[in-house]
Symmetry: D2
């Protein structure tokens, strides 16, 4: 169960009483009161003899409504439907597919979309559909249809090198994750490793964030870094950066899929 | 409030209801169910119009007893009384004193004990008492008396290079923290950086742990590491290690003093 | 060019003079004097109008002999022939194959050997030969033959879960790399993540090392670590550890293949 | 010996031959060819029976001149004269003084300058002179005089919260190090931890750099980072950041004092 509501006394008491009535055994619980927004976030993993998520949600509904809460209940074996978008660089896509195949990521991947045809064989080898959509505008329309048709909950830009229109950004607000190959807010835009090299930084990074109409300005979900030195060329930074991008994007997709990420304005709460 | 009890349904519901009756506003909450021991740990920071900790504890007592819980309530401005023990190496001591002085550590330091006289001036410059106890056996008796006299809650071995007797280890079980200058369980005992150098490791570390009669085998509270290479001599590792030891011991003392550490057998639960 | 010899004055002067005669332009140079062994290690990347490695080696031979040096010259586009061995866990194998395919690793992979048949399709999809050798003793004989037939320079145990005989360890001394899924020397032997969990460590690791007859005691090439906490189960540590193992093994294979690793007794010199 | 010159074949051969004539035993050597600037940097630690640095420099002078090189020779026991500047935050100053006192930093500190009087006692307790210079313009004139009078080689801004005039920046180009409390180029200017919090980054950092007239744009010497999460307030980031600032500034001062840092335009070469 995930829940967001205005903070006030008694939230935990109310919800935990409700869970007790459901004979729930709490396995994991995290909560956070965000002072600037006054919002309270909560995520609880529990076991209950009632196996049906909607039945549980129904039993908790009155309590949630009294708290003016946005609440969701989900079975842990119900996986997040994620559409992946990619261009030519395959390292993030391959990593997501590998982890999905290895059971590390609780997602289903109905289809992969690309503005290039290069990765069709890679995707097909996993038994996943691939759509080659070379024209940006038409691609967005098709993505909208695929999202609707497959009940897609999350769109992952796994090094998709096209600007997303403002409209689609807004339609998928909080549901579209991008990996940017720099330690944001440093080095927005194109060729961030070359920018990093020119600035002479000693640490490079990668950032997974929700996509917003403002390029590379979306709320950050996860970041990681690696040390570099004067001897690293931009090309070597690109190779080091691939490992960062892979790991950071996969962690962000995993956290989102497990309901661990809450979006509060420009910031995220991530229960790790 | 901190609480440990056998895990069962309804703990959070009961406690949060109790807190609601106290008009408590929860600021921070963490909980964990440890499967191997079957124990449940909980730590809650809250504000309440009732300012007195014992009054709050009294109001929650019946609930805690029903849960067979070990519960404690403490005002956040009540500081942990910590006795520091040190030999000649001063880096951990200086760091603890600096952070204490800067207000980073919620501790009071009634006295510092050493088997050497070297650091008396350093300690005195902070207005803290210093006792030079050169003989190990007599030192332990004196430490017992100081612990009783100053109501000491925590003993910190800040590079105290004497073996603590089994008896004192047991008397202060869960209340005595040591910093070991290796990444335990590697390199127990003397000269760990030299051991690390001989083994040719590429990463060195430091470990803060509760002291038990088994040398360097106590439950680990925190650890950290740094990369090294073939060009680092043991002496250079010692210098790099100082920074690790400082930071790891200070973090462990802070976590313990804030009630964030729970001891479950050989393992700790640390709510960061 | 790589060179190891007893340390003495004039080594760099002699070699750099020799390179000057070859009109070599030095691109990268690293050297190290190891005090305990009294050995000097040097690695130089250079361009020369003489394109033939054996001709260059011949021109430098007299200088090397005068230094009692073990010297090797290799063209950068001559790749290291590496035989991979694997059991059922595929994460290290898949990572090595991916990086090989992406051009990150300067190796050729003539064949992959496994005591299980599970990964044949994965290997074959890269156009690489696969041999299923279920019986340990026979496998070693076959490996010897493959090493000879393919002029194999490096054997990589990419989570190969069989003990290697002392004889083969000695035959391939300094040419066989294993990945151990712990931060050695902690947690040698089986199930290191479970050992780590039981000991309650706050940091886990992985170690790439040359294989010697003493299990998990070989000279360390690279290590890396990740923070864990009380909430991580052994199974979750296994997943986190996979990422460490992948990266550490790939880095070690890369460093070895590029001639950056020198073996001095139980320790390595690694020019990064 | 440190040396910078336009790259060309034969530099190492010439210098190492010169060192051989001086019967020098090379202890450590590092070199780097910077492609964009075409410059070659070299640093060599050696022992020689000739103990006098100017005599050694004299013997190498002709070779250096032939290479159009900027060369310096320095005895290892000759310490770098460093003037420290500080405002009210004392963590970096205290750390530098502690490491200086512990023998970790090869510097002499003739005087500490501050625009506040608060830290006079701290500085004096180490037997170091302290000058309180509240007025910014007059302070710079006095700093110029102190630099001249004490033959100061390095000025360290250890959280000195005053803008340095363009003139002084230019006069001390490559000789004045500042610590900025963010992971540059992110969060230039004031209150970087608050900026970081507002942007919702998951990693914060600190940067040591040479001071140039462009605020927080100078060449970076070292950086380091720490993970943060949604639960960290700006004030908690400040505390975490202190540890980063301390370590990064001390490392940068140490590297500069040991002649390990070469300034090439906007970038630095740092031989670690």
């Amino acid at each position: 169960m995930t829940l967001v509501c205005p903070d006030r006394p008694g939230i935990v008491a109310s919800i935990s009483e409700g869970l007790l009535h459901l004979e729930a055994n709490i396995l994991e619980n995290a909560q956070f009161s965000d002072l600037p927004t006054g919002m309270f976030c909560m995520r609880t993993r529990f076991e209950s003899p009632i196996g049906d998520a909607s039945e549980i949600a129904g039993a908790l509904r009155a309590r949630a409504d009294a708290l003016h809460a946005n609440m969701a209940v989900r079975r842990e074996d119900e996986r997040c439907r994620a559409l992946l978008m990619v261009s030519k660089y395959d390292h993030c896509l391959v990593d997501l597919l590998y982890r999905w195949h290895a059971g590390e990521l609780p997602i289903d991947i109905p289809v992969v979309v690309s503005n290039h045809g290069d990765l069709e064989a890679t995707v097909s080898s996993y038994g996943i559909g691939f759509e080659h959509l070379p024209a940006a505008a038409a691609a967005e329309d098709r993505v909208r249809k695929l999202v609707a048709a497959h009940d897609v909950e999350l769109v992952v830009l796994a090094r998709y090198m096209q600007i997303i229109s403002d409209d689609l950004c807004r339609e998928l607000a909080g549901r579209m994750i991008n990996i940017h190959h720099s330690f944001l807010p440093s080095f927005k835009g194109a060729k961030p490793y070359h920018q990093a090299w020119e600035r002479g930084v000693k640490v490079i990074g990668a950032t997974a964030h929700y996509v917003t109409p403002e390029l590379d300005e979306g709320p950050i979900i996860d970041q990681d870094v690696a040390r570099v030195g004067h001897a690293h060329t931009p090309d070597q930074m690109v190779i080091i950066g691939r490992d960062l991008e892979r790991v950071v994007l996969s962690r962000a997709v995993k956290a989102h899929s497990e309901g661990r990420v809450f979006l509060l304005g420009r910031r995220t709460v991530v229960f790790l």
